[in-house]
């Protein structure tokens, strides 16, 4: 920006601008003020995102430190009993972690094979017309609110599971896990498909010219070439499943169990946070603090996974 209040076109040289200054200074003073103020205002808008992150980190850290003043860190991280509301109170997060892990593993067992197969189909097999129909449908699936998936779990998936395994309870990890898996299929398939369509046509043509069939091209050429993107999509899906809240709150129950039996009722970290905030927990109580400690654990895990996904996508990308 040259010389204060003048006519400020970015192309004008200092001489022309000073020559025009006297003539246009009043006419353009509003313009010139806007030119000075707007970058600052816009920067403030952008800094909201930084403030959000700082806010998240600050609230989680400060309340978690408070919490650890009463409950030793070691007991929290390695305790095997989570009983925050009923005395004798105990705050060992392992049952919540194992519950979360169980849901996430089931979800990934559903979502990664199906999502990857859909991605291969859409990118390598499907005619353009079919792709034009299927892709929006998967997008719709991604846009369905999680509360609706929760309803789906309770009204269809759980009865089917109880019919197959009569020993399963109304609330079980399997039902919630499968539905979380269905929810993240679109995420795996669209991210993997993006990675596969970025593989250059010439690689496929080369393989076809050598007489390869379509599945050989897909599995031996395209998938290996797009592997970094595919792995990144799987990691992101894993992280998304960990943070999923309403489906597990509704369908997986609220019994913190150290179990890997998918037919049992369990509780995830997210479901615990919801359970406490639904009750009338007084501000400053130990239960109130436990929300933040669990939230902190959740935040750290998903944050690390997201960083890992970005790292994998960048570090192992094949450049052509």
């Amino acid at each position: 920006m040259q010389g204060g209040q003048g006519l400020q076109t970015s192309q004008s040289t200092p001489e022309t601008s000073s020559a025009l200054k006297g003539k246009y200074v009043f006419k353009n003073s509003k313009v010139s003020i806007m030119n000075k103020i707007m970058p600052v205002l816009l920067f403030l808008c952008a800094s909201v995102s930084i403030l959000t992150t700082l806010g998240i980190v600050y609230t989680l850290v400060s309340e978690t430190i408070n919490f650890f003043k009463t409950i030793p860190v070691f007991d929290f991280l390695f305790g095997t009993k989570w009983s925050p509301l009923i005395p004798p109170k105990s705050f060992g997060i392992l049952p919540l972690l194992s519950g979360t892990l169980l849901i996430t593993v089931i979800a990934c067992l559903v979502a990664i094979p199906i999502g990857l197969a859909s991605a291969i189909y859409l990118s390598e097999y499907a005619p353009a017309k079919v792709r034009k129909v299927i892709k929006p449908i998967l997008e719709v699936l991604a846009g369905v609110p999680t509360i609706v998936y929760g309803y789906f779990a309770l009204s269809i998936v759980t009865p089917v599971i109880q019919w197959i395994f009569p020993s399963a309870g109304i609330f079980n990890a399997l039902s919630a896990g499968i539905v979380v898996g269905i929810m993240i299929i679109p995420m795996v398939s669209s991210l993997s498909e993006d990675a596969m369509s970025a593989v250059p046509r010439s690689l496929r043509d080369g393989a076809y010219a050598l007489g390869a069939t379509r599945f050989e091209v897909a599995l031996k050429i395209v998938v290996p070439a797009a592997l970094s993107g595919i792995v990144a999509s799987a990691v992101l899906a894993f992280s998304r499943a960990i943070g999923e809240t309403m489906i597990v709150t509704l369908a997986a129950g609220s019994t913190p169990n150290m179990t890997f039996n998918p037919l049992d009722s369990i509780q995830t970290m997210t479901a615990y946070i919801v359970q406490v905030s639904l009750g009338d927990t007084p501000h400053g109580s130990i239960e109130y603090g436990s929300i933040f400690a669990v939230g902190m654990t959740l935040f750290v895990i998903t944050f690390l996974l997201n960083i890992l996904a970005q790292y994998v996508a960048r570090r192992f990308r094949e450049e052509y």
């Binding site: 970015s10 313009v31 806010g55 989680l60 097999y125 299927i134 509360i147 299929i185 919801v274």
Partner: protein
């Protein structure tokens, strides 16, 4: 010679069979997602259509399922949308303009950009914790409409910023050059040339972000959007409820009638989302037709 040819033919036939079988496998896998969506919609329609009557829109929730409605939830959702849309639009688009048009290529810019993509991956319930600590407690807004709307604004901001950035980036450089050549300043160029031509793309992104917010439940449960609200919020500081919370409330009751109510609540929610998505698609089509 003949033997080799036969062996070769067998091998090729085998690979072709393999290709055929995998093709079927991939089609089946892809259709699972489609089938799940159909099953979900049909199930909800069957369960919910019976209670989809005017009571649902005109009555407040009550202890008895018969005649119970979700007027307060529908109004709450709309109010939240009305607060959230302008606030998140201003901050989201402002941030996008800054990053695309003004920001220098330095560490600060990279940090902001990285930060936005990280925020997009933070679980929604963590935003709820943030809202509870900052808006509800620290700013003592209590469990109010404004606290909920601000929490949801923070949640959707990263989505809006990223889509607005894409829309702004799609504006060809020649447009900016033309504007500068006519003697326009930077801000004149941005506000009168770049923004108008990227507006359809930006609005599409904002609408999609709003439809994400309308369906979110977890953060609002955290900040304490009440599950039983038998009045309409009349000021920003009033307590409120929204459609997904009302649905959650009905779902957590054990009686079947309440589950039917939940299903009809979901139909209303999905109809609202469909409406919003349709407008986003129409906007996108119009935008593509103009070729800009």
């Amino acid at each position: 010679m003949n033997i080799f040819q036969d062996a070769n033919r067998d091998q090729i036939a085998g690979r072709r069979r393999m290709d055929f079988m995998l093709h079927i496998l991939f089609v089946v896998a892809t259709s699972i997602g489609v089938i799940a969506l159909c099953a979900l919609i049909i199930d909800i329609l069957i369960d919910g259509v019976a209670r989809l009557n005017p009571d649902l829109f005109t009555n407040f929730p009550s202890r008895k399922a018969d005649g119970s409605g979700m007027k307060s939830a529908i109004v709450g959702s709309i109010y939240m949308l009305l607060i959230m849309a302008p606030v998140s639009f201003i901050f989201g688009v402002g941030a996008a303009i800054y990053l695309e048009e003004y920001a220098g290529k330095n560490r600060l810019t990279r940090l902001i950009q990285l930060n936005i993509s990280t925020l997009a991956g933070v679980p929604s319930i963590v935003y709820g914790i943030l809202g509870l600590a900052i808006f509800v407690r620290l700013l003592s807004l209590d469990r109010s409409l404004i606290a909920g709307a601000l929490t949801m604004t923070l949640l959707v901001l990263p989505i809006i910023i990223v889509s607005a950035q894409e829309a702004i980036r799609a504006v060809p450089k020649s447009r900016r050059d033309a504007s500068f050549a006519l003697g326009a300043t930077k801000w004149q160029t941005v506000s009168r040339s770049v923004l108008p031509s990227s507006m359809p793309g930006i609005l599409t992104g904002v609408i999609l972000a709003m439809s994400r917010a309308i369906g979110e439940t977890a953060p609002l449960v955290m900040i304490g959007a009440l599950t039983y609200v038998a009045f309409l919020p009349s000021s920003l500081k009033d307590s409120f409820t929204v459609i997904p919370i009302q649905v959650y409330n009905w779902l957590s009751k054990s009686k079947v009638e309440f589950h039917e109510l939940a299903a009809s609540g979901i139909i209303v929610l999905l109809a609202l989302l469909l409406l919003m998505n349709l407008s986003a698609i129409l906007l996108r089509n119009k935008y593509q037709k103009k070729g800009l």
